[in-house]
Symmetry: C2
Subunit: 577 residues, 2 copies
């Protein structure tokens, strides 16, 4: 592409309303333009990148045996009523009424449509397994669209849906998709992690999220330095820290007149925060006919840990727990908040201790008396063993990996893909059956697999940028290389040499742009750095005289002089993303 024949429109100004770097850089580079809240036009430059991502996704889905089709973006209400999601999906579902007052939505996902397709198309186990996918525009009416295409309302998504006679076959395809996704992100040149995830609103049996790692990511990910283990911070298991040491201190009451937090108490006593225990007072689920007092729970985590509400709610009797009121706390513990603890409560209480707390000795807790804490507390001696020991906290850096290999680090990530084992939920609700080998109607198990194609573009920028702009991985760059011409109008020999090089590079399979817009070198280089072209070659009078080209990789600090052969070798080597 000759850039004089292309539409490139960069900007020096940093857009005021862009909060994240990818949004800023996509606007500055002129990749996207806002049409309305959460609606963006992909400029010719932006679309080139989007199509690169789309192509890699398509190739890997095809290679993995999935079959592409294309469903309508507008979906009838009737199908969504069959699964109960017309109401349940919530405000993100953009509802539409046509001229005949029939109701539709702009599809945010397509479980209903594909299951309807499947119940008409799939009759026999012989047609299974099958995995249908599409790369199609979706719409989610985000209440607060922001971050550019990172959380746009209209976006491009690859969604795939597989159908299986047996659960085992679903698991096989789920792994197949996991591997295909890994190849997609590897080919795109992105640092990513596949993480265990709660399946969220879509529901189902097992799921994993694919995250592009970036400091600005909205999700925290715990990952092992010794294995492939990774999980959403809130889903990662905090394992037992080992055996409890023997007591070495006597129980004693310490004066903490205004110290209500673990941090303040540790500072006052001059001890590590890890020696303190935080007490969180909860009211558990109501139990018919039982003493309401039996609902009072004191949850204990180490002073430096954070309670994980999802894990807590999975414990017996805590599915619908809430925080206790001050009155309930006073009634059960005889104290005000800030000085609570499990030792000698006013009334019998249920103690739920995190695994780390259960393994502590000589710890510090509130004394259930205003202005006092207890130090040198030990299980079994100063209070009964906890009624429940469980994992009720978020993991932290340095925790042992739950798979026993390595220790955990915490990184931030941007979710760009998701693989689910849906099970039979949708097929059952929509009466989708196939005949099995014995001729009996059976409900197929389903998997679903999504990739946020447009989101990947933004996520890649969050991971790959510097002060000068975007630094694309080769596979996502609008062009792999650019030939910049210095002063083409005044020097026909330079212009001609540049055009020749441009043609030869493209002929050699290296997708190359020619910057023949006639800008001054400084502005031209700044543009090419901003839009992130990986390889830059400058053709100048001086270089021509010496028989060399000035080459610079987008991430290199210096340019180097290369002759023609060295240049082609360099670009050929880096030319396959």
């Amino acid at each position: 592409m000759r850039l004089s024949q292309f539409h490139l429109r960069t900007s020096k100004e940093t857009p005021a309303d862009a909060e994240v770097i990818s949004h800023k850089l996509m606007l500055k580079a002129g990749m996207i333009r806002k049409l309305a809240a959460g609606l963006y036009t992909w400029s010719p430059l932006g679309l080139r990148v989007l199509r690169k991502v789309e192509r890699v996704v398509r190739e890997e889905m095809d290679a993995a045996g999935a079959i592409e089709l294309l469903m309508p973006s507008v979906q009838p209400r009737e199908l969504w009523e069959e699964t109960g999601r017309w109401e349940k999906f919530g405000g993100q579902l953009l509802k539409i009424r046509d001229r005949k007052e029939a109701e539709y939505c702009y599809g945010p996902t397509a479980e209903e449509v594909i299951t309807d397709f499947a119940r008409n198309e799939l009759a026999s186990y012989k047609q299974l397994p099958v995995n249908f996918y599409q790369i199609q525009t979706k719409f989610r009416d985000e209440i607060r669209p922001r971050f550019g295409v990172m959380r746009a309302r209209e976006f491009l998504m690859k969604d795939a849906y597989s159908f299986h006679v047996t659960d085992e076959d679903l698991v096989r395809e789920y792994r197949n998709m996991h591997d295909a996704y890994s190849r997609v992100f590897t080919r795109l040149g992105l640092k990513f992690r596949a993480v265990q995830a709660d399946s969220g609103a879509i529901g189902g049996d097992a799921s994993q999220e694919f995250h592009v790692l970036a400091d600005s990511g909205e999700d925290a990910i715990a990952f092992s330095d010794g294995s492939a283990y990774a999980a959403n911070l809130e889903a990662a298991e905090a394992v037992s820290p080992g055996d409890r040491p023997a007591p070495t201190e006597a129980l004693r009451k310490v004066d903490t007149p205004t110290q209500k937090t673990c941090e303040d108490v540790a500072a006052l006593l001059g001890i590590a925060l890890q020696r303190t225990v935080k007490s969180v007072a909860l009211m558990g689920d109501a139990i018919d006919g039982a003493d309401p007092g039996g609902q009072f729970v004191l949850a204990l985590v180490r002073g430096d840990h954070v309670v994980n509400e999802i894990k807590l709610a999975k414990l017996a009797g805590l599915a619908d727990y809430r925080l206790a009121t001050e009155a309930e706390i006073a009634q059960h513990l005889g104290s005000e908040p800030g000085f609570l603890g499990p030792v000698a409560p006013a009334r019998p209480i249920r103690v739920v201790a995190d695994r780390s707390v259960a393994a502590m000795a000589d710890f510090v807790v509130g004394a259930n008396a205003s202005g006092y804490h207890l130090a040198g507390v030990n299980w079994g001696r100063d209070l009964p063993e906890p009624a429940v020991v469980a994992d009720i906290r978020n993991v932290v850096e340095g925790d042992r990996s739950p798979d026993g290999q390595g220790t955990l680090g915490i990184a931030r990530g941007i979710e760009v893909g998701h693989v689910f084992q849906l099970g039979r939920k949708y097929a059952e609700a929509m009466k989708c059956t196939v005949l099995d080998e014995t001729g009996k109607a059976t409900i197929p198990a389903m998997g679903c697999y999504g990739i946020g194609v447009s989101r990947i573009v933004a996520a890649a920028i969050e991971q790959n940028h510097d002060d000068a702009g975007i630094a694309w991985p080769d596979a996502m760059a609008p062009w792999l290389a650019v030939v910049c011409v210095i002063n083409p109008k005044n020097d026909p020999a330079v212009a001609e040499a540049a055009q020749t090089l441009y043609r030869e590079l493209n002929a050699a399979g290296i997708e190359t742009a020619l910057d023949d817009r006639g800008q001054r070198p400084g502005a031209m280089f700044a543009d090419m750095e901003l839009i992130g072209i990986p390889h830059r070659v400058v053709v100048s009078e001086r270089g021509l005289g010496a028989g060399t080209f000035e080459y610079r990789h987008r991430r290199a600090s210096e340019a180097e002089s290369l002759d023609r052969n060295a240049l082609f070798a360099r670009l050929g080597a880096g030319g396959h993303g």
Copy 2:
């Protein structure tokens, strides 16, 4: 592609609700499935064809210098208010309200969005000319969606929009697009015509439609057998038939007691219909202060011709004409309808004669008296020369072509493309300006250019089918060739030979499917004919023994035995659509 790994689902039954052959065949072949009124899922088979069309369109648009981008499908009401089309566009505009009660539509076209993009992106004449295009899903809320994807509500369209400083440059790009479209349809292997068209609701200066010719087409097209001239039947000019002959008959009143139509009168008199003249009584536009009688017009066309209302309305004083009432006819002509004519009216009237009528001698008209006609009528002698002579009829087969080359035939066509010179209408309404060479803000001229990508698939079938099913042109076929295996399970040598051939053909660049589904030959051949694969190769035990393959072109009546070299030569020759 091995068809055992693909999703193919043909049907023997003819769908009851499909009215046109393309809709029937697309359903029978399993290319599309209906989701709701006017909404279709493209099955894997159908999508392969759709993508072929999309690719050819994209390649030719790129080659013509247009630049691809991607606009949102959801468009804000505000932009449509700027051009007044929020109301004017009518019921086809699918209006949407989001969760915040903001109003949008699902874009049926994108003049507003691209003009908004342009007014932000284009600042200087140096950025012009530029032609932006997208291949994107559109929605038109058809009141009666039908004919499958031929008139679906959601459809895939290529829409392009160009911007120019001068009208001359717009005309240049308009021709460029015309040529690109011709290349698209030629490459797709379709018989088509570019026809002059009225620009319809979008408005503008000049436009042409591209029609795929098919007997079932909804539009009639007049085309020359001696040149590239083609026009919509109603837009085609009917030229003067030549000089008027001298009178040879005397005027006489003839008895036509019940004969009120030209056909009946000609039959009674035993003369050619071409000798009669039809009189149509009209009331022209009201003229302030003038005698209302001056509005009465008698329009004359030859008995075998049809009045063209669009042409009539272009004449002075007839912009808003209507048919005259019986009372008005009686007042001006002194007669009842069926016996009307221009000779000796009761009051002065205005006669508008079609060119053919003005060139007639010795013709037959109504006598303005019930039960009588006049024969041997001649201009100048029996009545004054007509006040207006103009083209006011539809052309018919055999008319001379308006460009003077050849004679006209009439064909039927399906509109699949449209090129418009929009002029400055949208840019003006939306205050889109660029600075010209003198630094003055100027409103750019615009062109717009559409191709109905999904519609082409249906139109191609209307043109290319037989009793057995679809007969794709090479360039649109889901696969160019198919290797059919006879009895693969019982004969491993045959199965292996088929797989080898399948791999070799693909390696030679001939996109080939392998029908390894294990069906019986009859069912397999019927499927491959139904889905329209151009080249079929059968691998059987008998052929293997003789060192030959059975080859049959989809349009050939007989199969032939070819050895490997002859087969590759045959497919290679036909392999580039």
